[in-house]
Amino acid sequence: MNWQPSASLQVIRERARIYRQIRSFFNTRGCLEVETPVLASTTNTDVQVATIEVPGFEIPFYLQTSPEFAMKRLLAAGCGSIFQITHAFRQGEAGRLHHPEFSLLEWYRAGYDYHQLMDEMELLITTLSLHQCSFTRITYKDLFRQVMDLGVDEVTLEQLRDHCKKSVPGTNVAQLDFDQCLDLLLGVVIAPTMQGYQFVYDYPLSQAALARVREDDNNVAERFELFFDGIELANGFSELTDADEQRARFEQDNAARAQKGLPQYAIDERLLAALESGLDDCAGVALGLDRLLMVLLELDSIDQVLTFTD
Protein backbone atom coordinates (compact mmCIF):
# COMPACT_ATOMS: atom_id res chain seq x y z
CA MET A 1 0.00 0.00 0.00
CA ASN A 2 1.58 3.27 -1.08
CA TRP A 3 0.49 5.77 1.56
CA GLN A 4 3.41 8.16 1.12
CA PRO A 5 2.89 11.73 -0.12
CA SER A 6 3.32 12.42 -3.82
CA ALA A 7 5.50 15.48 -3.11
CA SER A 8 8.81 15.27 -1.27
CA LEU A 9 9.04 16.75 2.24
CA GLN A 10 11.24 19.52 0.83
CA VAL A 11 8.46 20.51 -1.59
CA ILE A 12 5.86 20.41 1.20
CA ARG A 13 8.06 22.79 3.26
CA GLU A 14 8.59 25.06 0.22
CA ARG A 15 4.82 25.27 -0.27
CA ALA A 16 4.46 26.39 3.35
CA ARG A 17 7.22 28.96 2.81
CA ILE A 18 5.63 30.54 -0.27
CA TYR A 19 2.16 30.60 1.34
CA ARG A 20 3.68 32.41 4.35
CA GLN A 21 5.43 34.90 2.08
CA ILE A 22 2.34 35.46 -0.07
CA ARG A 23 0.28 36.29 3.04
CA SER A 24 2.91 38.63 4.38
CA PHE A 25 3.31 40.28 0.94
CA PHE A 26 -0.39 41.12 0.70
CA ASN A 27 -0.84 41.94 4.38
CA THR A 28 1.85 44.62 4.16
CA ARG A 29 0.36 45.97 0.91
CA GLY A 30 -3.15 46.54 2.24
CA CYS A 31 -4.83 43.57 0.60
CA LEU A 32 -7.40 41.69 2.70
CA GLU A 33 -7.34 37.89 2.87
CA VAL A 34 -10.81 36.45 2.19
CA GLU A 35 -12.46 33.07 1.93
CA THR A 36 -15.29 32.08 -0.44
CA PRO A 37 -17.17 28.78 -0.88
CA VAL A 38 -15.66 25.95 -2.85
CA LEU A 39 -19.16 24.47 -3.23
CA ALA A 40 -21.87 26.65 -4.79
CA SER A 41 -25.15 26.48 -6.73
CA THR A 42 -23.80 28.38 -9.76
CA THR A 43 -20.75 27.86 -11.88
CA ASN A 44 -18.71 29.16 -14.78
CA THR A 45 -20.42 29.06 -18.18
CA ASP A 46 -17.09 29.19 -20.08
CA VAL A 47 -17.24 26.63 -22.89
CA GLN A 48 -13.67 25.48 -22.31
CA VAL A 49 -14.08 24.85 -18.60
CA ALA A 50 -15.77 21.65 -17.41
CA THR A 51 -17.38 21.80 -13.99
CA ILE A 52 -17.66 18.92 -11.53
CA GLU A 53 -21.23 18.59 -10.29
CA VAL A 54 -21.71 17.33 -6.76
CA PRO A 55 -24.64 14.96 -6.12
CA GLY A 56 -26.72 14.85 -2.96
CA PHE A 57 -28.48 18.23 -3.08
CA GLU A 58 -32.00 19.14 -4.15
CA ILE A 59 -30.67 21.56 -6.75
CA PRO A 60 -27.34 21.08 -8.57
CA PHE A 61 -24.23 22.13 -6.66
CA TYR A 62 -20.83 22.56 -8.22
CA LEU A 63 -17.20 22.50 -7.14
CA GLN A 64 -15.96 25.93 -8.10
CA THR A 65 -13.69 26.22 -11.15
CA SER A 66 -12.46 29.57 -9.80
CA PRO A 67 -13.39 31.88 -6.90
CA GLU A 68 -13.89 34.76 -9.33
CA PHE A 69 -17.65 35.34 -9.10
CA ALA A 70 -17.76 35.29 -5.30
CA MET A 71 -14.72 37.55 -5.02
CA LYS A 72 -16.31 40.09 -7.37
CA ARG A 73 -19.38 40.13 -5.15
CA LEU A 74 -17.07 40.96 -2.26
CA LEU A 75 -15.52 43.79 -4.29
CA ALA A 76 -18.97 45.16 -5.10
CA ALA A 77 -19.79 44.94 -1.39
CA GLY A 78 -16.91 47.36 -0.74
CA CYS A 79 -14.18 45.04 0.56
CA GLY A 80 -11.44 46.92 -1.26
CA SER A 81 -8.44 44.96 -2.56
CA ILE A 82 -8.64 41.27 -1.65
CA PHE A 83 -6.70 38.05 -2.04
CA GLN A 84 -7.42 34.37 -1.51
CA ILE A 85 -5.55 31.08 -1.54
CA THR A 86 -8.00 28.32 -2.43
CA HIS A 87 -8.60 25.14 -4.38
CA ALA A 88 -10.32 25.05 -7.78
CA PHE A 89 -11.65 22.07 -9.73
CA ARG A 90 -11.81 21.22 -13.43
CA GLN A 91 -13.35 18.04 -14.75
CA GLY A 92 -11.15 15.92 -17.00
CA GLU A 93 -7.98 17.99 -16.79
CA ALA A 94 -5.10 15.64 -16.05
CA GLY A 95 -1.55 15.46 -17.31
CA ARG A 96 1.97 16.65 -16.66
CA LEU A 97 0.73 20.21 -15.97
CA HIS A 98 -2.88 19.52 -14.99
CA HIS A 99 -4.75 17.97 -12.10
CA PRO A 100 -8.55 18.13 -11.59
CA GLU A 101 -8.01 19.77 -8.16
CA PHE A 102 -5.41 22.50 -7.95
CA SER A 103 -4.37 25.47 -5.82
CA LEU A 104 -4.86 29.07 -6.83
CA LEU A 105 -3.83 32.44 -5.56
CA GLU A 106 -6.40 34.93 -6.78
CA TRP A 107 -6.28 38.61 -6.07
CA TYR A 108 -8.11 41.80 -7.04
CA ARG A 109 -6.85 45.32 -6.92
CA ALA A 110 -9.32 48.19 -6.69
CA GLY A 111 -8.37 51.02 -9.04
CA TYR A 112 -5.67 49.04 -10.91
CA ASP A 113 -5.57 48.23 -14.60
CA TYR A 114 -3.97 45.09 -15.99
CA HIS A 115 -0.50 46.61 -16.46
CA GLN A 116 -0.39 47.75 -12.84
CA LEU A 117 -1.40 44.24 -11.84
CA MET A 118 1.43 42.79 -13.96
CA ASP A 119 3.82 45.12 -12.12
CA GLU A 120 2.62 43.82 -8.77
CA MET A 121 2.86 40.23 -9.98
CA GLU A 122 6.51 40.77 -10.95
CA LEU A 123 7.19 42.03 -7.46
CA LEU A 124 5.43 39.06 -5.84
CA ILE A 125 7.24 36.44 -7.92
CA THR A 126 10.59 38.13 -7.34
CA THR A 127 9.85 37.99 -3.61
CA LEU A 128 8.99 34.27 -3.75
CA SER A 129 11.77 33.25 -6.11
CA LEU A 130 15.07 31.91 -4.90
CA HIS A 131 16.84 33.52 -7.89
CA GLN A 132 16.94 36.84 -9.68
CA CYS A 133 13.96 37.11 -12.05
CA SER A 134 13.50 39.16 -15.18
CA PHE A 135 10.21 39.67 -16.99
CA THR A 136 9.24 40.60 -20.52
CA ARG A 137 5.88 41.68 -21.96
CA ILE A 138 4.57 41.12 -25.45
CA THR A 139 1.13 41.47 -27.01
CA TYR A 140 -0.65 38.36 -28.29
CA LYS A 141 -0.45 39.79 -31.78
CA ASP A 142 3.29 40.52 -31.63
CA LEU A 143 3.98 37.07 -30.18
CA PHE A 144 2.39 35.32 -33.18
CA ARG A 145 4.16 37.74 -35.51
CA GLN A 146 7.54 37.20 -33.84
CA VAL A 147 7.49 33.40 -33.58
CA MET A 148 5.42 32.36 -36.60
CA ASP A 149 5.38 35.49 -38.78
CA LEU A 150 1.61 35.23 -38.59
CA GLY A 151 -0.74 38.22 -38.42
CA VAL A 152 -3.68 37.20 -36.24
CA ASP A 153 -5.62 40.27 -37.44
CA GLU A 154 -5.31 39.53 -41.15
CA VAL A 155 -5.17 35.75 -41.37
CA THR A 156 -8.19 33.85 -42.70
CA LEU A 157 -9.48 30.65 -41.16
CA GLU A 158 -8.25 28.67 -44.19
CA GLN A 159 -4.73 30.11 -43.88
CA LEU A 160 -4.75 29.45 -40.17
CA ARG A 161 -5.71 25.82 -40.71
CA ASP A 162 -2.84 25.53 -43.22
CA HIS A 163 -0.45 26.82 -40.55
CA CYS A 164 -1.78 24.18 -38.14
CA LYS A 165 -1.47 21.43 -40.73
CA LYS A 166 2.14 22.39 -41.46
CA SER A 167 3.27 22.99 -37.89
CA VAL A 168 1.34 20.23 -36.13
CA PRO A 169 1.19 17.24 -38.48
CA GLY A 170 -1.42 14.63 -37.66
CA THR A 171 -4.16 17.11 -36.75
CA ASN A 172 -7.61 17.03 -38.27
CA VAL A 173 -7.58 20.78 -38.94
CA ALA A 174 -10.89 20.84 -40.81
CA GLN A 175 -12.75 20.55 -37.50
CA LEU A 176 -10.91 23.43 -35.80
CA ASP A 177 -12.44 26.89 -35.62
CA PHE A 178 -10.43 30.13 -35.55
CA ASP A 179 -9.74 30.25 -31.82
CA GLN A 180 -9.07 26.52 -31.61
CA CYS A 181 -6.37 26.97 -34.29
CA LEU A 182 -4.83 29.82 -32.28
CA ASP A 183 -4.95 27.71 -29.08
CA LEU A 184 -3.22 24.83 -30.85
CA LEU A 185 -0.48 27.03 -32.29
CA LEU A 186 0.08 28.86 -29.01
CA GLY A 187 0.19 25.65 -26.94
CA VAL A 188 2.18 23.44 -29.28
CA VAL A 189 4.31 25.69 -31.47
CA ILE A 190 4.79 29.00 -29.69
CA ALA A 191 4.89 28.06 -25.99
CA PRO A 192 7.93 25.75 -26.41
CA THR A 193 9.91 28.69 -27.82
CA MET A 194 9.10 31.05 -24.91
CA GLN A 195 11.84 31.67 -22.36
CA GLY A 196 11.82 32.94 -18.81
CA TYR A 197 8.93 34.91 -17.31
CA GLN A 198 6.88 36.41 -20.11
CA PHE A 199 3.58 38.27 -19.99
CA VAL A 200 1.36 37.94 -23.05
CA TYR A 201 -1.35 40.64 -23.14
CA ASP A 202 -4.12 42.16 -25.26
CA TYR A 203 -5.90 38.96 -26.26
CA PRO A 204 -8.26 38.85 -29.24
CA LEU A 205 -11.82 39.81 -28.40
CA SER A 206 -12.99 36.25 -29.08
CA GLN A 207 -10.82 35.20 -26.12
CA ALA A 208 -11.76 38.05 -23.81
CA ALA A 209 -13.27 35.77 -21.13
CA LEU A 210 -14.15 38.24 -18.35
CA ALA A 211 -11.84 41.05 -19.46
CA ARG A 212 -12.73 44.61 -20.37
CA VAL A 213 -12.43 45.61 -24.04
CA ARG A 214 -9.65 48.11 -24.70
CA GLU A 215 -11.10 51.57 -25.17
CA ASP A 216 -8.61 52.64 -27.84
CA ASP A 217 -8.60 49.32 -29.74
CA ASN A 218 -11.82 47.36 -29.60
CA ASN A 219 -10.27 44.34 -31.33
CA VAL A 220 -8.54 43.30 -28.14
CA ALA A 221 -9.38 42.72 -24.50
CA GLU A 222 -7.33 43.82 -21.50
CA ARG A 223 -6.42 40.26 -20.62
CA PHE A 224 -2.94 38.91 -19.84
CA GLU A 225 -1.30 35.63 -19.10
CA LEU A 226 2.03 34.92 -17.45
CA PHE A 227 4.23 32.13 -18.78
CA PHE A 228 7.51 30.69 -17.56
CA ASP A 229 9.45 28.84 -20.25
CA GLY A 230 6.11 28.43 -22.03
CA ILE A 231 4.26 27.03 -18.99
CA GLU A 232 1.09 29.02 -18.33
CA LEU A 233 1.13 30.28 -14.74
CA ALA A 234 -1.49 33.00 -14.46
CA ASN A 235 -4.42 34.67 -16.18
CA GLY A 236 -5.62 38.17 -15.38
CA PHE A 237 -7.87 40.97 -16.57
CA SER A 238 -8.85 44.53 -16.24
CA GLU A 239 -12.22 43.31 -15.03
CA LEU A 240 -15.40 43.65 -16.96
CA THR A 241 -17.69 45.66 -14.67
CA ASP A 242 -20.63 46.21 -17.01
CA ALA A 243 -23.56 43.98 -16.00
CA ASP A 244 -25.25 44.05 -19.41
CA GLU A 245 -22.07 43.12 -21.26
CA GLN A 246 -21.44 40.39 -18.67
CA ARG A 247 -24.94 38.98 -19.14
CA ALA A 248 -24.46 38.99 -22.92
CA ARG A 249 -21.21 37.01 -22.56
CA PHE A 250 -22.87 34.45 -20.26
CA GLU A 251 -25.66 34.05 -22.81
CA GLN A 252 -23.14 33.64 -25.65
CA ASP A 253 -21.37 30.95 -23.61
CA ASN A 254 -24.59 29.04 -23.04
CA ALA A 255 -25.51 29.30 -26.72
CA ALA A 256 -22.09 27.90 -27.65
CA ARG A 257 -22.56 25.17 -25.04
CA ALA A 258 -25.93 24.23 -26.57
CA GLN A 259 -24.33 24.05 -30.00
CA LYS A 260 -21.60 21.71 -28.77
CA GLY A 261 -24.02 19.55 -26.82
CA LEU A 262 -22.46 20.59 -23.49
CA PRO A 263 -24.50 21.20 -20.31
CA GLN A 264 -25.81 24.75 -19.94
CA TYR A 265 -25.69 26.46 -16.57
CA ALA A 266 -27.95 28.94 -14.86
CA ILE A 267 -26.46 32.42 -15.09
CA ASP A 268 -25.07 33.70 -11.78
CA GLU A 269 -27.71 36.36 -11.14
CA ARG A 270 -26.10 37.34 -7.83
CA LEU A 271 -22.93 38.33 -9.66
CA LEU A 272 -24.92 40.35 -12.21
CA ALA A 273 -26.88 42.04 -9.42
CA ALA A 274 -23.58 42.89 -7.71
CA LEU A 275 -22.24 44.42 -10.95
CA GLU A 276 -25.47 46.38 -11.36
CA SER A 277 -25.13 47.77 -7.86
CA GLY A 278 -21.80 49.18 -9.05
CA LEU A 279 -18.30 47.77 -9.27
CA ASP A 280 -15.49 50.30 -9.58
CA ASP A 281 -12.63 49.69 -12.00
CA CYS A 282 -10.40 46.91 -10.81
CA ALA A 283 -8.03 44.26 -12.06
CA GLY A 284 -7.76 40.66 -10.95
CA VAL A 285 -5.55 37.67 -11.59
CA ALA A 286 -5.38 33.96 -10.76
CA LEU A 287 -1.99 32.35 -10.31
CA GLY A 288 -1.63 28.56 -10.28
CA LEU A 289 0.34 27.80 -7.14
CA ASP A 290 1.17 24.20 -8.01
CA ARG A 291 2.76 25.21 -11.28
CA LEU A 292 4.49 28.17 -9.62
CA LEU A 293 6.05 25.72 -7.16
CA MET A 294 7.12 23.49 -10.06
CA VAL A 295 8.80 26.44 -11.73
CA LEU A 296 10.45 27.79 -8.57
CA LEU A 297 11.82 24.35 -7.68
CA GLU A 298 12.62 23.37 -11.29
CA LEU A 299 10.42 20.25 -11.24
CA ASP A 300 8.92 18.62 -14.34
CA SER A 301 5.53 17.41 -13.28
CA ILE A 302 2.62 18.66 -11.17
CA ASP A 303 2.58 15.29 -9.34
CA GLN A 304 5.90 16.28 -7.78
CA VAL A 305 4.33 19.28 -6.03
CA LEU A 306 0.87 17.92 -5.13
CA THR A 307 0.89 16.64 -1.56
CA PHE A 308 -1.29 13.70 -2.56
CA THR A 309 -2.66 12.99 -6.03
CA ASP A 310 -5.53 10.88 -4.71
Binding site: D46, Q48, V49, G92, E93, A94, G95, R96, L97, H98, V168, P169, G170, T171, N172, Q175, L176, D179, Q180, L182, D183, L184, L186, G187, V188, Q207, A209, E225, E232, N235
Partner: protein, 189 residues
Amino acid sequence: MASYSTNEFRSGLKIMLDGDPCAIIENEFVKPGKGQAFNRVKIRNLKTGRVLDKTFKSGDSVDAADVIDTEMQYLYNDGEFWHFMDPQSYEQQAADANAVGDARQWLKAQDNCEVTLYNGSPIGVTPPNFVELEISDTDPGLKGDTAQGGTKPATLETGAVVKVPLFLEIGELVKVDTRSGEYMSRVKK
Protein backbone atom coordinates in the same frame (compact mmCIF):
# COMPACT_ATOMS: atom_id res chain seq x y z
CA MET B 1 -18.22 -0.68 -32.42
CA ALA B 2 -16.74 0.35 -29.09
CA SER B 3 -15.01 3.71 -28.95
CA TYR B 4 -12.75 5.61 -26.60
CA SER B 5 -12.88 9.28 -25.64
CA THR B 6 -9.57 11.16 -25.42
CA ASN B 7 -9.89 11.26 -21.63
CA GLU B 8 -9.57 7.46 -21.63
CA PHE B 9 -6.30 7.65 -23.59
CA ARG B 10 -3.38 5.96 -21.87
CA SER B 11 -0.33 4.10 -23.06
CA GLY B 12 -1.14 0.64 -24.37
CA LEU B 13 -4.68 1.52 -25.51
CA LYS B 14 -5.52 0.03 -28.94
CA ILE B 15 -7.40 2.29 -31.36
CA MET B 16 -8.24 2.39 -35.08
CA LEU B 17 -6.59 5.13 -37.10
CA ASP B 18 -6.95 5.54 -40.87
CA GLY B 19 -8.10 1.93 -41.10
CA ASP B 20 -5.17 0.42 -39.21
CA PRO B 21 -4.97 -0.86 -35.63
CA CYS B 22 -2.64 1.27 -33.52
CA ALA B 23 -1.37 1.32 -29.95
CA ILE B 24 -0.94 4.52 -27.96
CA ILE B 25 2.63 4.92 -26.70
CA GLU B 26 2.43 8.36 -25.08
CA ASN B 27 -0.42 10.75 -24.38
CA GLU B 28 0.14 14.43 -23.51
CA PHE B 29 -2.67 16.76 -22.43
CA VAL B 30 -2.22 20.35 -23.66
CA LYS B 31 -4.70 23.01 -22.55
CA PRO B 32 -4.58 26.73 -22.16
CA GLY B 33 -6.59 27.70 -19.06
CA LYS B 34 -9.21 29.51 -21.14
CA GLY B 35 -8.89 27.62 -24.41
CA GLN B 36 -9.36 24.42 -26.33
CA ALA B 37 -7.75 21.29 -24.87
CA PHE B 38 -5.82 18.87 -27.07
CA ASN B 39 -4.40 15.40 -26.62
CA ARG B 40 -1.09 14.94 -28.40
CA VAL B 41 -0.34 11.27 -28.78
CA LYS B 42 2.47 9.11 -30.06
CA ILE B 43 0.98 6.08 -31.73
CA ARG B 44 2.46 2.85 -33.09
CA ASN B 45 0.80 1.38 -36.15
CA LEU B 46 0.57 -2.29 -35.18
CA LYS B 47 0.66 -3.46 -38.79
CA THR B 48 3.67 -1.51 -40.00
CA GLY B 49 5.39 -0.82 -36.68
CA ARG B 50 5.69 2.85 -37.68
CA VAL B 51 5.42 5.47 -34.95
CA LEU B 52 3.48 8.64 -35.71
CA ASP B 53 2.25 11.79 -33.95
CA LYS B 54 -1.41 12.66 -33.82
CA THR B 55 -3.24 15.56 -32.22
CA PHE B 56 -6.87 15.21 -31.15
CA LYS B 57 -9.26 17.80 -29.81
CA SER B 58 -9.98 16.68 -26.25
CA GLY B 59 -13.40 15.11 -26.00
CA ASP B 60 -13.19 13.56 -29.47
CA SER B 61 -13.64 9.84 -29.64
CA VAL B 62 -12.02 7.19 -31.78
CA ASP B 63 -12.99 3.63 -32.57
CA ALA B 64 -11.46 0.91 -30.46
CA ALA B 65 -9.36 -1.61 -32.35
CA ASP B 66 -10.39 -5.23 -31.98
CA VAL B 67 -6.93 -6.14 -30.80
CA ILE B 68 -6.14 -8.59 -28.03
CA ASP B 69 -2.85 -9.82 -26.67
CA THR B 70 -3.06 -13.50 -25.92
CA GLU B 71 -0.60 -15.98 -24.44
CA MET B 72 0.13 -18.75 -26.95
CA GLN B 73 2.60 -21.57 -27.28
CA TYR B 74 4.98 -21.52 -30.25
CA LEU B 75 4.83 -24.81 -32.19
CA TYR B 76 6.89 -24.74 -35.40
CA ASN B 77 7.77 -22.87 -38.59
CA ASP B 78 6.77 -24.47 -41.89
CA GLY B 79 9.01 -22.25 -43.99
CA GLU B 80 6.32 -19.65 -44.59
CA PHE B 81 4.28 -19.41 -41.41
CA TRP B 82 5.01 -19.59 -37.71
CA HIS B 83 2.40 -21.67 -35.90
CA PHE B 84 1.09 -20.93 -32.41
CA MET B 85 -1.44 -22.70 -30.18
CA ASP B 86 -3.78 -21.42 -27.50
CA PRO B 87 -2.94 -23.68 -24.52
CA GLN B 88 -6.56 -23.60 -23.25
CA SER B 89 -8.58 -24.09 -26.43
CA TYR B 90 -5.84 -25.82 -28.49
CA GLU B 91 -6.87 -23.48 -31.28
CA GLN B 92 -3.99 -22.77 -33.68
CA GLN B 93 -2.91 -19.56 -35.39
CA ALA B 94 -0.46 -19.09 -38.27
CA ALA B 95 1.55 -15.85 -38.28
CA ASP B 96 3.41 -14.60 -41.35
CA ALA B 97 6.91 -13.11 -41.40
CA ASN B 98 5.50 -9.59 -41.13
CA ALA B 99 3.62 -10.42 -37.95
CA VAL B 100 6.50 -12.31 -36.36
CA GLY B 101 9.08 -9.66 -37.21
CA ASP B 102 12.26 -9.69 -35.12
CA ALA B 103 10.67 -12.05 -32.61
CA ARG B 104 11.51 -14.96 -34.93
CA GLN B 105 15.12 -15.12 -33.70
CA TRP B 106 13.95 -15.98 -30.18
CA LEU B 107 11.19 -18.48 -30.97
CA LYS B 108 11.78 -21.97 -29.63
CA ALA B 109 9.16 -24.68 -29.78
CA GLN B 110 7.03 -24.93 -26.65
CA ASP B 111 7.95 -21.46 -25.36
CA ASN B 112 5.02 -19.21 -24.48
CA CYS B 113 4.76 -15.95 -26.43
CA GLU B 114 2.33 -13.07 -26.51
CA VAL B 115 0.52 -13.06 -29.84
CA THR B 116 -1.35 -9.89 -30.83
CA LEU B 117 -4.56 -10.73 -32.70
CA TYR B 118 -6.37 -8.15 -34.83
CA ASN B 119 -9.87 -9.24 -35.85
CA GLY B 120 -8.79 -12.73 -34.83
CA SER B 121 -5.58 -12.91 -36.91
CA PRO B 122 -1.98 -12.50 -35.68
CA ILE B 123 -0.35 -9.14 -36.44
CA GLY B 124 2.41 -9.23 -33.84
CA VAL B 125 4.42 -11.60 -31.67
CA THR B 126 6.27 -10.69 -28.47
CA PRO B 127 8.72 -13.31 -27.23
CA PRO B 128 9.10 -13.98 -23.48
CA ASN B 129 11.35 -11.40 -21.78
CA PHE B 130 13.84 -14.16 -20.98
CA VAL B 131 14.60 -17.25 -23.06
CA GLU B 132 16.97 -20.14 -22.46
CA LEU B 133 18.66 -21.26 -25.68
CA GLU B 134 21.47 -23.63 -26.63
CA ILE B 135 24.66 -22.35 -28.28
CA SER B 136 24.84 -23.95 -31.73
CA ASP B 137 28.04 -22.27 -32.84
CA THR B 138 30.84 -20.20 -31.33
CA ASP B 139 34.64 -20.03 -31.24
CA PRO B 140 36.29 -22.53 -28.87
CA GLY B 141 36.16 -21.55 -25.21
CA LEU B 142 39.18 -20.34 -23.27
CA LYS B 143 39.61 -22.54 -20.22
CA GLY B 144 40.09 -20.77 -16.93
CA ASP B 145 38.99 -17.40 -18.34
CA THR B 146 35.93 -17.08 -16.13
CA ALA B 147 36.88 -13.85 -14.43
CA GLN B 148 37.86 -11.68 -17.36
CA GLY B 149 35.33 -9.44 -19.06
CA GLY B 150 35.91 -10.46 -22.70
CA THR B 151 33.08 -11.59 -24.97
CA LYS B 152 32.66 -13.37 -28.32
CA PRO B 153 29.68 -13.81 -30.66
CA ALA B 154 27.67 -17.02 -30.31
CA THR B 155 24.92 -18.29 -32.61
CA LEU B 156 22.01 -19.78 -30.70
CA GLU B 157 19.74 -22.65 -31.76
CA THR B 158 17.08 -20.22 -32.99
CA GLY B 159 19.54 -18.30 -35.16
CA ALA B 160 19.99 -15.28 -32.87
CA VAL B 161 23.56 -14.05 -32.41
CA VAL B 162 24.46 -12.73 -28.95
CA LYS B 163 27.69 -11.75 -27.21
CA VAL B 164 28.66 -14.32 -24.59
CA PRO B 165 31.62 -14.65 -22.21
CA LEU B 166 34.72 -16.32 -23.67
CA PHE B 167 34.50 -19.50 -21.54
CA LEU B 168 31.19 -20.73 -23.02
CA GLU B 169 31.17 -23.71 -25.42
CA ILE B 170 28.92 -25.10 -28.15
CA GLY B 171 26.06 -27.08 -26.62
CA GLU B 172 25.82 -24.97 -23.46
CA LEU B 173 22.54 -23.33 -22.43
CA VAL B 174 22.37 -19.54 -21.91
CA LYS B 175 19.69 -17.16 -20.59
CA VAL B 176 19.10 -14.08 -22.78
CA ASP B 177 17.00 -10.93 -22.32
CA THR B 178 15.03 -10.68 -25.58
CA ARG B 179 14.26 -6.96 -25.08
CA SER B 180 17.92 -5.96 -25.19
CA GLY B 181 19.33 -9.06 -26.88
CA GLU B 182 21.85 -9.33 -24.05
CA TYR B 183 23.32 -12.46 -22.47
CA MET B 184 22.26 -12.78 -18.81
CA SER B 185 23.79 -16.00 -17.48
CA ARG B 186 24.80 -19.57 -18.12
CA VAL B 187 22.10 -22.14 -17.33
CA LYS B 188 23.10 -25.50 -15.79
CA LYS B 189 21.50 -28.32 -17.76
